[in-house]
Symmetry: C2
Subunit: 413 residues, 2 copies
C-alpha cells in the first residue's frame, strides 16, 4: 500500500507494518493507520473524485488501507443519502441541518462500513473465515458482507440474544454459537476460538482497519456538502470506534486540503450509560458504567475504543451530550415525522443530543450541523412501538373518526 506508511499505537507510539491481520499493540493499546498524505495528494484530487462513477465506500480507495489490487466487496455499502432538513433546522434554531441516513446500508446500519473493510482485509490476509462476538449490528453486517464475498463466519452470541437478530445471522448462513453464559464468557470463548483456528478477527477495537471503514461516512458527508463543512457533527457513541472513525476521516480530508474547517463533534450517549461523555464532562479518565438504556447498540459500559474516541472529542473541541431514553424516543418520532427517516434508538441518539444542545444553548443560534442516523428503525420494532404511540381504534364510522381525532387535537380536513 503506497499510501499507507505504517500503523502506530495510540498509547505507546510503537510502529507496526500495516499487515492485513493486525490486532492490538503489545502494550494493549489500539493501533492507528498512518497515511502518506503527500502521496495521496499527488493521486487524489477533487476533480478525480467528481469523475468517479462508483457510489459506495470504495469510491475513496486512496484514503482506505487496502491494496490497489484488492477487489471492492460485493454489497453496496455506503453512499447513503444526506438530506437537507430546513424544517427541522428551523425548529432547532439552526441555519442549516443535514441528516445522513446510514440505516440505508445493505444490512441497515453504519456497521456495514466496518464489516466490508473486515471482509476486504480478510481476503488480503488469505483468510477463508471471519469471526466476532456480538449480537448486534456488527454481527449482522459481518454475516451479510461475508456471505456475499463467499467467506465463512463464526459468530458468538450470548444466549440471551434476541431471536430476531439471531435469525438474521442464520439467514445469512453464519455459524452461530449461542453461548450459555454472559457476554464476557461469550467474548472470551470467541477469542479462544479465533486464536485456535486462526480466523480473521472482526472486533472493531482490536482490528485497526475497521474504523478506517467507518470513516467513509465522514468522507461522504464532506463530498455531499461539496467540501463545505458544518459547524457541528452529531453522532451516537458506544464503543467509541465510530466517532473515532468520523474524526479520522475529517482529519484525512483536512490533511489533503479537501476541507479547510473541522466540525466540532457532538458525542451522544445515553444518560443511562455514558462512560465516555462522563470522562469528557468531568475532565477525567473514563470509568466503567452500568448499561441502562434502550439504545442497545450504544449500551457499552466498558468502551473498548476509549482512547481514540476521547482524543477525537477533545481534539475537535467537541460537546459531550447525554440524553434520556425518553429524549431518544422523542427524537425517533421527530425524525420520522419531520424528515421521513426511521432510526433505531441508538441510531437517533445523535439527533436527540443535537436537539438538546440547541435547547440548552450549547450551540449558538444559526449554526450549521449534520446529524448521522446510524441504524434503521426496523432493527428494533419494540421500541418503535414505544415511540410511536397508539393509533385511533374505532368502528368503521366517519363521525367516530372525526370525534376521535378531535380528542387528540387533530382537525380532520
Amino acid at each position: 500500500m503506497k499510501h499507507v506508511k505504517y500503523a502506530q499505537c495510540v498509547r505507546c507510539g510503537k510502529r507496526y507494518d500495516a499487515a492485513p491481520d493486525l490486532t492490538n499493540c503489545s502494550c494493549g493499546g489500539i493501533l492507528d493507520v498512518v497515511y502518506d498524505y503527500d502521496y495521496i495528494k499527488s493521486v487524489l484530487t477533487k476533480e478525480v473524485l467528481a469523475g468517479r462513477k462508483e457510489r459506495s465506500m470504495w469510491r475513496y480507495r486512496e484514503l482506505l488501507p487496502v491494496e490497489e489490487t484488492t477487489p471492492d466487496t460485493p454489497l453496496r455499502v455506503g453512499w447513503s443519502p444526506l438530506y437537507e432538513e430546513p424544517g427541522l433546522a428551523a425548529q432547532l434554531g439552526l441555519s442549516r441541518l443535514w441528516v445522513k441516513d446510514d440505516g440505508q446500508n445493505p444490512t441497515a446500519s453504519l456497521k456495514d462500513r466496518a464489516s466490508a473493510m473486515a471482509v476486504a482485509k480478510a481476503m488480503e490476509a488469505g483468510a477463508k473465515t471471519i469471526a466476532c462476538s456480538s449480537t448486534g449490528n456488527a454481527a449482522s453486517s459481518l454475516a451479510g458482507n461475508a456471505a456475499a464475498a463467499g467467506l465463512k463466519t463464526y459468530i458468538f452470541v450470548p444466549d440471551r440474544a434476541p431471536k430476531g437478530k439471531v435469525a438474521q445471522l442464520m439467514v445469512f448462513g453464519a455459524n452461530v454459537i449461542s453461548v450459555k453464559g454472559n457476554y464476557e464468557e461469550t467474548f472470551k470463548m470467541s477469542a479462544e476460538a479465533i486464536e485456535r483456528y486462526g480466523w480473521y478477527n472482526r472486533n472493531a477495537a482490536i482490528n485497526p482497519y475497521l474504523s478506517e471503514g467507518k470513516k467513509t461516512v465522514a468522507l461522504e458527508i464532506a463530498e455531499q456538502l461539496d467540501w463545505k463543512m458544518p459547524d457541528y457533527l452529531a453522532i451516537s457513541v458506544g464503543d467509541g470506534c465510530t466517532i473515532a472513525g468520523v474524526w479520522k476521516g475529517l482529519k484525512d480530508l483536512y490533511a489533503i486540503g479537501f476541507i479547510d474547517k473541522l466540525p466540532r463533534l457532538i458525542s451522544a450517549q445515553s444518560t443511562g450509560c455514558c462512560p465516555l461523555n462522563r470522562a469528557i464532562l468531568q475532565g477525567t479518565d473514563w470509568e466503567p458504567m452500568e448499561e441502562n438504556t434502550i439504545a442497545d447498540s450504544i449500551s457499552v459500559g466498558v468502551p473498548r475504543n476509549a482512547d481514540k474516541a476521547l482524543a477525537a472529542i477533545r481534539e475537535s473541541r467537541g460537546l459531550a451530550v447525554c440524553v434520556t431514553d425518553e429524549e431518544i424516543l422523542a427524537a425517533a418520532c421527530l425524525l420520522g415525522r419531520t424528515c421521513g427517516v426511521f432510526g433505531e434508538p441508538a441510531g437517533v441518539a445523535g439527533t436527540a443530543a443535537l436537539k438538546k444542545a440547541c435547547e440548552d444553548g450549547l450551540i449558538e443560534r444559526g449554526a450549521t450541523a449534520v446529524s448521522v442516523v446510524t441504524g434503521n428503525g426496523l432493527k428494533d420494532v419494540a421500541n418503535a412501538i414505544r415511540a410511536g404511540g397508539e393509533p385511533l381504534h374505532i368502528a368503521p364510522d366517519l363521525s367516530e373518526m372525526v370525534k376521535g381525532f378531535a380528542a387528540r387535537g387533530v382537525t380532520v380536513e
Copy 2:
C-alpha cells in the same frame, strides 16, 4: 406534460386528460398513461442519461408522468443495487444472474417508488393530504415519503394489523385509523373518507400513476445492465401493479430504442394464493382465491390490477410459477447465504420461482435472468426465524462447539 399524451382505459379504451388526480375509468377499468415516444426520443438519449448525476428514480423524468416543474420528492427512492451473482447462477444452471435488491429503499421496499410518485402527483394536484388503506409496504412507504414532503396522511388499517407495522406508521406521523372490522370494511371506510374530504388517493390499482413509479425498477435494471436485457425477469405478484409496472418500463425502453429485446416475465405467486397465475396456467379469466401464504405482501385473493398484470405476463410470453411457503423460506436462505441479500417472504418469491423454473426445465440451461427482491427481510422477522433455523446452543467450551457443528456436518477449521 409534453411527453404524455393522455391516459386510456385498458378495458374500454376511453381517453382522459392526464390530470394529476386521475382515478379509474367510468367503466371501472384501470387507466394507462400513454406517452409521446417520438418527443421523448428527441430529448432523451443514452448519452444524456449517462451524464446525469441523479441516482434516484427521478433520473428518468422524461419517462415519468410528472410536470417538468414538479420537484423531486425528498427521500432517495430507487437506484437500488443490482448484484451479479455467479455462484447462484451456477447453482441454478443459468449462465448469468443478477439480483436487484429493492429492499434498499428508504422504507425498505419497492413500494417507495409508487409512494414517491403519489407524493409528486399529490403536490401537482395541490393536495395537502394523501390517504390509503393498507397495513403493508404501501402504507409505510406512503407515510415515510409524505412525511418527508410535509404532506399529511390518513392511513386506514384493519385492527388485526401487526403492531410493528402500525408503529412504523405512527413514527412517521401518519394519522392511523385502526378499524374494528375486516379489510373490506376498512377499505370502504377509507374510500368514503377520501370522497368526503377530497384527499389524494394512493391506491395502486385506482391511481394510474403509481405503477409508472414502480416501472423505474425496470428502467434501472436496464441501465445497470448497459441496456443488454436478460432472457428472463422474475418478480413476485400480488395485486399485479408491480409486474405491470415492470412491463411498462421495459416497453417504454423498447419504444424509444434503448433496448432491442424484451425479457420474458416470470410471475411468482404462492401456491396458497395465485389467482393470476392460475388464470395464466389455465388460459382463463381470473377468479378470487383464498389468501393462504406467509408471503403477506402478495397474499391478495382479489387482485385489483389483474387486467394490466395478465396482459403483461401474456405479452411477454411469460411464465407463471407458483411456489410453496417452504420454497419461499428456502429461497430467503439461499439469497442470504449466497448473495448476502435479506428479503421478506414476498420479496424473495421471485427468486424461489426462478429456482423452480430452472429445476423444472421451464427455463433452458445457460439462460440469463434478473430476480427482483421487493422488500427487506427486517419487515418480517418472525418468518426469518422460521427460515433461518436454530443456532448451536452450547456451554462456553470449544470442544462442545466442534462436536455440535460436526453433528451438523460442519467441520470447524
